[in-house]
Symmetry: C2
Subunit: 194 residues, 2 copies
DNA sequence: GTCTATAACAGGATAGAC
DNA sequence: GTCTATCCTGTTATAGAC
């Protein structure tokens, strides 16, 4: 049961974010959201048209937060590879998985254009952001011999797949190994300093 | 509605495999399985104790098939990197995602030790298999300067994450890019031929 | 082995009272 | 705005007939 001195609509959105992350769209019922938010049936349907509308608000917010969080590391100062490493190694709730990536497995989310939109845009944006950063590194002579768009996709895939491995193993170690392996491969393309 | 001249139990397992892949455990009802298999309610509960028992049979089979399929490429003849490339580039139902990896997002699967077991074992096995192969390549002088266990985790993560990116984008292109990017990085560690 | 009936409960929402 | 009542359907079985 959640409440933080905020109104019902806000509590409903935050509760939906938590439950969507934990159990997915198909596995989350309006009743469970109401219970978690400490909000009654009537109140929920007063503020939102239904489960889908509430999920849309929750997903849009989660997607926006993910982009902002990524930009914090990727848009920092310093060498390109250091920024990418900071992004890859920043603290994460590894065993909970990616709150956006997991929606990709939810058939009812992918079937609904409004729900799917933020998911698609998040990954499109992230790949482009990393691709631009890598291109910047190549242009500056910091990195050599790699294709920015393909490498960007590889980096995002390692993160998303790292979550899968960690959850399968029940341990964050697999995630860390995947990231370590990637960074070792990337470092080989760093131009000798000078 | 599925049927292939086989008995009800067999049709039920195959239908469960399809639906689990498509909609996950939470999103798959006994009724949907029965309809897909063309098998009645009573028949299903005669052959299986319930949804979980049926899912267990389906998941175990899917996991076994995945391991066998991976071994087909990874255990072939030829240079290590070529075998890994063959594995990464073999034909896949990219937009459907990984039938084992997707279960990782299913709370009810991860909460049940019997259902989770095959998922965990599959990824443990796959990482070990790739790690051993990479170690073989290092020992043979085909590959240099990479850590087998970490690199193995990276490779599996790229595949799993590649599925996520492809589903998010609604296109296989993202998967292909992630794999291309990975292979480019790995190739830099191939010893000059000789 | 398979069928139909029944059941207890959850999912997702509407209606109208307060 | 929020509450309670109500509704119809789906979920996940069990029971017993055939």
């Amino acid at each position: 049961m959640y409440s933080g001195g905020v109104d019902a609509a806000e509590r409903l959105i935050e509760s939906t974010r938590v439950l969507l992350w934990e159990r997915g769209y198909v596995g989350t019922s309006p009743k469970a959201i109401q219970a978690h938010a400490g909000v009654g049936q009537g109140s929920m349907y007063h503020h939102f048209a239904g489960k889908a509308a509430l999920a849309h608000a929750a997903i849009a917010r989660t997607a926006a937060e993910l982009r902002a969080a990524a930009d914090a590391q990727l848009g920092a100062d310093g060498p390109v590879l250091a920024r990418i490493e900071a992004y890859l190694r920043r603290e994460r709730d590894v065993l909970r998985g990616c709150p956006v990536g997991r929606l990709t497995q939810d058939p009812d989310v992918m079937a609904d254009a409004a729900l799917r939109g933020p998911v698609e845009q998040t990954f499109t944006w992230l790949r482009a952001r990393l691709g631009a950063l890598l291109a910047e590194g190549v242009a500056a002579g910091e990195l050599t011999g790699l294709d920015p768009p393909a490498t960007a996709a590889t980096i995002v895939a390692v993160l998303q797949g790292g979550y899968v491995l960690a959850r399968a193993a029940g341990s964050t170690e697999a995630f860390t190994q995947a990231v370590d392996g990637l960074l070792a491969l990337l470092t080989a393309h760093a131009a000798p300093r000078g």
